[in-house]
């Protein structure tokens, strides 16, 4: 069996590795994403006061600390059986909305857009944010940085710090906002809405206006019908902060809608011998292997799945964009994984509109932002949508609130199986009959999982000391016959 490796993955964390196994005929037999796992979090958390978790869990992810912060705070609310006052809830959601704008902007402009704007076969030296700026102009680059910076200002104001926020506590948040701060959030919110609209227009002009890209989005290698998961409000509209988790099948019918505390009834984890990773799947449907479709319990949790799982967006401009999305792509649900990049921008716009809604809500400056917990703590589960998927925090404590057990399902974990399936599928279409793998081919395989924006050991910040990206092709006998290098 031949093996092709992509190691490390372009633009993704250096700890990841893709192995593509070819058979004797030089066709793809299987493909796996092999990644090291952060170890020992449960043991690390045991014995700590649960109210420390909103400050500890953000350190698991260097990119979405806000998601863990809010998820842990909500889990603590559940552990202590305390209800957050309306102003506290709205401040948390306002912070969270700003975070989503910043995070989605970074992913789209730094990671995704270069593929479309420069083209997937452009030289690697150009296929990055610098190439993007060169093509669309410095002003666009400035707008991205400035918009992100403004969103971070909101996070800093409400979270106490821009990095690793500390503002959310069990029962609410630590401080109310003044009218001056509220006005600033509102002004920023309007600018972020403009930024969202600009970004969607850029996508229309550059991607939808290019028939080659549209063909790529609609192409079979990047089409994987499966179950879709996302948090929805009481009207089945997308909500990042709270609600119930809704799962729809590949035809769009609702399979289940569950409250956070019921997650173990719905999700099970599959263990495979070749990786530390566990692959969540839907219990009701069952594990049928690395395949998709109605009979397989594999599901995804992404911006695309959130739109598929919902009946619409809760804000007007995002709802228009949502309708355009499904009209263009032929109805719901959409199975085109590359369309995730488009869905991400619709979510960015929603988050910006939601920020304005919250910043103009009369309750948001109410001084009562926290209820001090008084009940005996025991167990709590909370779910939020992280940018890269549904995030679950589950803590069990003793009567003093000391953590006894914890379980986290981070956003990317939901997508381990779909990512592997996507790689295999894309690889099969582009690597055939022993054909020498060209650079562009390998990038197309990576394009299959980049929409998932996966987190692999993001909490580590060590410098990438490895060699530049290398792909190795082995014969069935295990001899290295060809080495490809990327990004030199």
């Amino acid at each position: 069996m031949q093996k092709i490796s992509i190691d490390p993955i372009t633009r993704l964390e250096g700890h990841g590795r893709v192995d593509i196994f070819l058979d004797e005929a030089g066709n793809v037999a299987n493909a796996y994403l092999v990644i090291p796992e952060l170890r020992g979090f449960e043991k690390f958390a045991e014995g700590r006061p649960v109210e420390e978790m909103p400050r500890i869990t953000p350190r698991i992810c260097g990119v979405c600390p806000e998601a863990h912060h809010i998820a842990s705070a909500k889990a603590c609310d559940a552990v202590y059986h305390v209800e957050v006052p309306p102003a506290g809830r709205k401040l948390r959601e306002l912070l969270y909305s700003a975070f989503f704008v910043a995070d989605h902007a970074v992913h789209f402009y730094i990671l995704a857009a270069p593929d479309f704007v420069l083209g997937p076969d452009a030289p690697p030296a150009e296929r990055n944010i610098l190439g993007l700026i060169h093509k669309v102009g410095v002003e666009t680059g400035r707008m991205v940085i400035d918009s992100r910076g403004m969103a971070m200002d909101i996070i800093g104001m409400l979270g106490g710090k821009t990095i690793h926020p500390v503002g959310a506590l069990p029962g609410g948040v630590s401080k109310a906002i003044s009218e001056e701060e509220r006005a600033k959030c509102e002004a920023i919110g309007h600018k972020l809405v403009e930024f969202g609209q600009f970004s969607l227009q850029l996508f229309r002009d550059v991607v939808l206006g290019n028939s080659g890209y549209v063909d790529m989005i609609l192409s079979e290698p990047y089409t994987t019908p499966m179950y879709y998961m996302g948090l929805v409000d009481e009207n089945n509209r997308v909500n990042f902060y709270d609600g119930q988790v809704r799962v729809v099948d590949p035809e769009g019918g609702e399979l289940v809608k569950y409250a956070p505390r019921e997650y173990l009834d719905v999700i099970a984890e599959r263990v495979e011998p070749w990786t530390y990773l566990k692959f969540p799947y839907l219990k009701k449907v069952g594990w049928k292997g690395f395949v998709t479709g109605k009979e397989s319990g594999v599901y995804q949790a992404t911006p695309l799945s959130r739109l598929n799982a919902a009946d619409g967006m809760a804000t007007p401009l995002a709802q228009e964009a949502y309708e355009e999305f499904y009209q263009t792509l032929g109805g719901k649900p959409v199975h085109r994984i590359l369309a995730t990049h488009w869905a991400r921008l619709i979510e960015l716009l929603y988050a910006a509109e939601r920020a304005v809604e919250l910043a103009t809500d009369p309750e948001i400056t109410d001084p009562h932002v926290r209820n001090i917990p008084t009940a005996v703590p025991d167990e709590g589960v909370a779910i939020v949508e992280a940018p890269r998927g549904t995030l679950t925090h589950h803590f069990i404590t003793d009567a003093r609130g000391i953590v006894q057990k914890c379980n986290l399902i981070v956003g990317t974990t939901n997508n381990y199986a779909p990512i592997s399936i996507g790689i295999k599928k894309a690889a099969r279409a582009f690597i055939k009959g022993g054909e020498v793998v060209r650079e562009g081919l390998l990038n197309r395989v990576e394009m299959a999982f980049r929409p998932y924006d996966p987190c692999f050991g993001c909490a580590t910040h060590s410098l990438p000391g490895q060699m530049p990206l290398e792909a190795r092709v082995y014969t069935a006998a295990g001899n290295l016959v060809h080495t490809l290098r990327k990004n030199m």
Binding site: I9, T10, R11, L12, E13, G14, P36, E37, L38, R39, G40, F41, K43, F44, I56, R59, G62, V63, C64, D103, V106, H107, I110, L111, P124, R127, N128, I129, L130, I133, V138, G141, R142, I145, R148, G149, T162, I163, H164, R388, D453, P454, C455, F456, G457, C458, A459, T460, H461, S462, L463, P464, G465, Q466, M467, P468, L469, K486, N487, M488
Partner: protein, 193 residues
């Protein structure tokens, strides 16, 4: 009553210098950069030098770097065959490959610097950007302490940081007339520059 046995003054020749420890202090050796900088900052005070710590990369890092004349960054690194605790002295160009590889969702250091410069942000020149990279053994296990070899290396790396910042050790005698502080040895390096 004695005076302190030694005090260290930092002088940078009026260059605004940021000494930045990068890492995650709950992931074993991944926090070494922060531990080093904490130790170095305890031994140095200067109007020109700022000691900071961060657990970020890419664009977030760019925001910290803008406006500095000089940056000394301390971080963990993992290289094939590297010995835990060894030190490498690098510049951003040594991480050339990471324009594409690197952080999952954000720019690498090189990419962030390149982007910042293209947008006209005031950033230090590559030759004024030093990376002290400590070889790590374990960056994947949750723990608040480093592995033994990395832990043992921290004081020497902290001294190296101070050397990079061009400190001078002033000698003083305590009331017992002890000999002045000995010259500071160079930190052990692992074969880098």
């Amino acid at each position: 009553m004695g005076t302190p046995a030694s005090s260290i003054q930092c002088g940078t020749g009026n260059m605004k210098t940021l000494v930045l420890g990068l890492g995650n202090t709950i992931l074993t050796d991944d926090g070494v950069g922060i531990h080093v900088v904490r130790e170095a900052s305890a031994a140095c005070s200067s109007d020109d030098v700022t000691f900071a710590e961060a657990s970020v990369g890419g664009l977030r890092l760019l925001e910290l770097l803008a406006g500095q004349d000089r940056v000394i960054m301390v971080d963990a690194i993992q290289t094939p065959g590297g010995r835990p605790g060894d030190l490498r002295r690098l510049h951003p160009n040594d991480l050339r490959a990471s324009l594409h590889a690197g952080s999952s969702h954000d720019l690498s250091l090189s990419g962030a610097l390149a982007l910042g410069r293209s947008l006209g942000l005031p950033l230090p020149r590559d030759e004024d950007f030093t990376i002290l990279a400590v070889e790590a053994e374990d960056v994947l296990t949750f723990s608040e302490t480093c592995t033994e070899q990395v832990q043992v290396a921290i004081p020497a790396v902290a001294l190296r940081v101070l050397e990079e910042v061009h400190y001078t050790a002033s000698e003083a005698y305590d009331g017992d007339g002890r000999t002045p502080t000995a010259a500071v040895p160079r930190a052990r390096t692992g074969g880098g520059q």
